[in-house]
């Protein structure tokens, strides 16, 4: 069984090796003519007056939090989706649908709450 997955590992290694070779290639082949101007950050010709390590809007953090919530819920749906027909044949229609229905009800209630609180607005 585990042997079936070994080619995936090989493919991961080959892809990463390829990407690193591509990154390393110009340092061998390309010219080297360094100067101070090339070292500076690009700010459309204006000399930058502050570092870019600074605070950014909280709404991105909110999106990331919502994403984690919903993504985990989507992950919970996968095993159920894969096993729906065997569940129906083994335990009947109601046992296949009702537990996930309860879960989805809580999920949708959460979504409605977020919506009413304005967490889904981007302003």
């Amino acid at each position: 069984m585990a042997q079936d997955y070994f080619p995936l590992l090989v493919f991961i290694v080959v892809s990463i090796v390829f990407a690193f070779i591509a990154i390393g290639l110009p340092s061998i082949l390309g010219p080297r003519r360094k100067n101070q101007q090339k070292q500076e950050p690009y700010e459309s010709g204006i000399i930058p007056f502050q570092d870019a390590r600074r605070r950014f809007p909280i709404k991105y953090y909110l999106v990331a939090m919502l994403f984690i919530l919903f993504d985990i819920e989507v992950i919970f749906l996968y095993p159920w989706a894969g096993a729906l027909l065997p569940l129906r044949d083994g335990y009947g229609i109601w046992l296949a649908l009702v537990p996930m229905g309860v879960f989805l009800f809580i999920l949708i209630a959460g979504l409605v709450y977020e919506w009413s609180k304005g967490a889904l607005e981007w302003e």
């Binding site: 070994f6 493919f11 340092s27 950014f56 990331a64």
Partner: protein, 329 residues
């Protein structure tokens, strides 16, 4: 020989796939430039070789022989790692895409769906790390926008994948292509295809959802500080993602390597990759057509559409699919 099966064959397959994808990428740029030129009523590249066919090769040689510039203000390790992290996932999804009945791209594993979801999740890391390590205001803003957009559209995408999985009842992509479907299943799938395609456009940062790199406000977004081959790698990641997602859509919605009604499936299994390639080329035309036709939405419209329109629709679609599957299959 165990050694041969375990190591040599996968390495050969991986290298072949990467080479084919790189060639595909090179000629996708040519295809896109030619098509966009046609949409704009001009000629497009036509100097290097007949009909500009050698243009991609000239571009590649130029990128490799550029000077390597690592600006002084960047976080060096992450800055160099980010292009690799962007490119590798785009290639990796190909591991599970079936090219024929007994002919997987790299590995015949029964977890195709999970692999696609997992690798698609990694794709946003390259972007956010590139933007953060560049230490440039444009890059940081572009990366934030891009990652917020990618993760927002990943949720409806995941829910649509759950719906397809409900209909298929199996995590294997080969079984998905091989299993017979009733006419109402095809119809129900195709109703969803436009929405799925919108999610894919946002996931791959393609226009009209290319807000991370809106030239008129953010220069080039997260890749502002990247030049030469490192820029080419981001470019490659975007275009190979286009090819990859087209192959995924062809497999999920349009029968992948098989012809409709099972024509010729037993006679010529070697045709599989070419049939898949044909479907991919048609879907790539869609990407370019959309790019030539539509303008960008505002960023709040983009995020609002993901959370307030696509998410409820995909949830509802998933629930209806579950009911249809339980009662009619």
């Amino acid at each position: 020989m165990d050694w041969l099966n375990l190591l040599v064959i996968p390495i050969i397959r991986s290298v072949v796939i990467i080479v084919v994808l790189l060639t595909g990428f090179a000629y996708l740029t040519w295809y896109e430039r030619k098509l966009l030129a046609r949409f704009h009523v001009r000629y497009g590249p036509n100097r290097a070789g007949p009909k500009g066919l050698l243009q991609p090769i000239a571009d590649a040689v130029k990128a490799v022989f550029k000077e390597e510039i690592i600006p002084g203000h960047v976080d060096k390790v992450v800055y160099l790692l980010a292009p690799a992290l962007a490119l590798a996932p785009a290639l990796l999804i190909w591991a599970v895409i079936p090219l024929g009945k007994d002919f997987p791209a790299v590995a015949d594993v029964p977890i195709g769906f999970l692999w696609i979801l997992a690798i698609a999740g990694v794709e946003s890391y390259g972007v956010i790390l590139a933007g953060w390590s560049s230490n440039n205001n444009y890059s940081l803003l572009g990366a934030l926008r891009s990652s917020a957009q990618m993760i927002s559209y990943e949720i409806p995408l995941g829910l649509f994948l759950v719906s397809i999985l409900l209909l298929a009842g199996d995590f294997s992509l080969v079984n998905l292509v091989e299993a017979p479907r009733a006419w109402w299943e095809w119809l129900w799938l195709w109703i969803m295809f436009p929405l799925f395609f919108i999610c894919i456009l946002a996931e791959t940062n393609r226009s009209p959802f290319d807000l991370p790199e809106t030239e008129n406000e953010l220069v080039a977004g997260f890749q502002t500080e990247y030049g030469g081959i490192k820029f080419a790698l981001f470019f490659m990641a975007e275009y190979i993602s286009m090819i990859t997602t087209s192959a995924i859509m062809a497999t999920l919605f349009f029968g992948g390597y098989a012809l409709p009604f099972g024509i010729g499936s037993d006679i010529l299994p070697i045709l599989g990759p070419f049939i898949l390639a044909g479907k991919v080329i048609v879907l790539l035309f869609l990407f370019i057509w959309v790019r030539a036709s539509l303008g960008r939405p505002r960023y709040d419209q983009l995020m609002g559409f993901a959370w307030r329109t696509l998410l409820p629709i995909s949830l509802g679609y998933m629930i209806i699919t579950a009911l249809l599957t339980v009662f009619f299959k």
